[in-house]
Symmetry: C2
Subunit: 341 residues, 2 copies
């Protein structure tokens, strides 16, 4: 169906008609100039916003729109979890490229709604507009956190332990697989008539990490249960090296990360090898992981060691000691953030 | 200066370093995963978000970046005023086209900061990213409103008076002037060597309405002073016809707008004539005015009549009576929203 048949507001209505508001704070959702939220006076509000541009943050050649919607929500609410908060309301703006039809938008919204339901977030607003070129998404999430429990990037102290959830570099290797298949597909379009079906068998975990990441709400719950309050926290969206450097900078500290402690999945390792890529570089600089990187006081060592799916990877140091990766042989390499794409 | 010399985070720091947070609720601004806001328990929070795409919402050929920044802020906070609220915090995401340099961003941020200062809004966050093509902006504004004073689109009742602030169609005529000069400029580029300087004399008001609109905070103050609580309100961003129809739809009512009551500036009228355009059509369908369109009970007639820069332009009717413009000769025309651009 052509979008012009429904018009902007008919289309928003069509896409959002079944949405029920479940958060007690959501007073007014889609359909007015602004969303109305009743604040919980015992808590602090958190607001975060993210933009996703076609050709920069996603490629529609290998990203189904439903996955794009899901991933955009996860990436956005992950910032609320990274403050040790709970996401409550979400707003989504979409600027549509020319070839987009109603069915495409239905797919995008199916992914958005699925993620909202899974994480208990209300979709309370958003606009549609046109784009002269590619698609652009902009998401805003409102959440809250108990006073005194907010985990900023700025609270890490010398000797704190550095921890990370899950494993790193998997989404990045998933992206490499998709990019390789895209290149093969495109070269076939230009001459070679024998069409090959991409073979991703055995790599499903990497593709899923790239296409359908999850935010680590479960890790926050485990931390609360264990009585651990992180001194500082950030989600790994740009890559471990870059995000660790943000945390150090905001906290005014240095760090040591131990290469052998960085958690890496088996599929990530074998795929990096097949691409002839340095595995540690992939784990340090691959983005889109949405794992939680956080610091805890040294006295929490035993508590944090007993947590499933959390690994201690290093420790905070005084600022003048700098930010370094300690290699398997004990050699130190300065942590460097990858250039901005 | 090339943006790559600073990098994303160096650039954000460079652009936001002088920003002081003035709102008591702004606990943590730029530099973390999310902004932290202490809510006022006696109020409801308002959140609105807007996207601005190059080639759709703005044209950099005739829109200086400082004006673009200013206008984007005004357009966004106008939605908070349209709820009868007060804007408090703002977040700005920018996706940069390829030719953008640091100085361009400084101009954009100069406009953003100027608007924030003028309206008392704190800039508390935002990202920079790349765009494969044109520039895209996404702004999010958080505000609040006293409980019971929120003016939704949905509160208009039969016999309520329909009022609008300022005058309509001026920004649209400003846009026409810019578009005409752009067309002349482009035709000169293709052959005609005689370069003409655009002559905008006598049209400054229209250009300013397009390039540097203001949000009508002053009208809300006047309403409060007069003891008037609007039953419904919306800001005129898409055009009077379209926004009136939204208000009617959300309120489940109809309306009558009197053509002769629609406020139009003298410059708008003469320019429409010179373009051979129907003046009422311009006033009904021209966007970007950011005037407030609101309804008040009939019993507020005398109070609202005495307000400066507010005009009663019609009245709400029962739903089955439809949405009509009453012409100068008494003939009725159905209100139609312009097609979606």
């Amino acid at each position: 169906m052509q979008i012009s048949e429904l018009g902007e507001f008919g289309l928003i209505e069509h896409l959002t008609k079944e949405i029920a508001l479940k958060q007690p704070g959501s007073m007014k959702g889609v359909g007015d100039d602004a969303a109305v939220i009743a604040p919980d006076a015992t808590k602090q509000m958190l607001v975060t916003t993210d933009m996703f541009m076609e050709g920069i943050h996603f490629d529609l050649v290998y990203t189904p729109l439903k996955h794009l919607g899901y991933k955009a929500v996860v990436a956005t609410i992950s910032d609320i979890y990274a403050m040790n908060g709970t996401p409550r309301q979400l707003m989504v703006n979409v600027a549509l490229g020319r070839r987009i039809e109603v069915e495409h938008l239905e797919d995008l919204y199916a992914g958005i709604k699925l993620a909202c339901e899974g994480y208990g977030v209300d979709l309370v607003g958003g606009d549609l507009s046109s784009s002269r070129t590619g698609m652009a998404l902009s998401l805003t999430c409102v959440g809250d956190v108990e006073e005194g429990q907010c985990a900023m990037r700025s609270g890490a102290k010398d000797t704190d332990l550095i921890c990370v959830s899950g494993n790193l570099g998997a989404a990045y290797m998933g992206l490499q697989l998709f990019e390789r298949e895209k290149a093969i597909f495109e070269s076939q379009q230009h001459g070679n008539s024998e069409a090959a079906t991409p073979d991703f068998s055995g790599k499903e975990y990497l593709l899923e990490r790239y296409l359908k990441p999850e935010a680590r709400r479960d890790v926050l719950e485990a931390l609360r249960k264990a009585g651990i309050q992180p001194t500082a926290m950030i989600d790994v969206s740009d890559g471990l090296a870059s995000d660790m450097k943000h945390l150090c900078k905001q906290s005014g500290v240095g760090c040591r990360i131990y290469e052998e402690r960085i958690p890496i999945d088996y599929q990530t390792a074998t795929t990096a090898e097949s691409f002839n890529m340095n595995l540690t570089t992939c784990a340090l600089n691959g983005g889109d992981d949405y794992e939680l990187l956080f610091t805890v006081p040294l006295t929490d060592h035993d508590k944090v060691s007993s947590l499933e799916d959390v690994r201690i990877i290093g420790h905070i140091a005084r600022k003048e000691l700098g930010e370094y990766l300690v290699g398997r042989d004990g050699q130190e390499f300065e942590l460097k953030a990858q250039g901005w794409k």
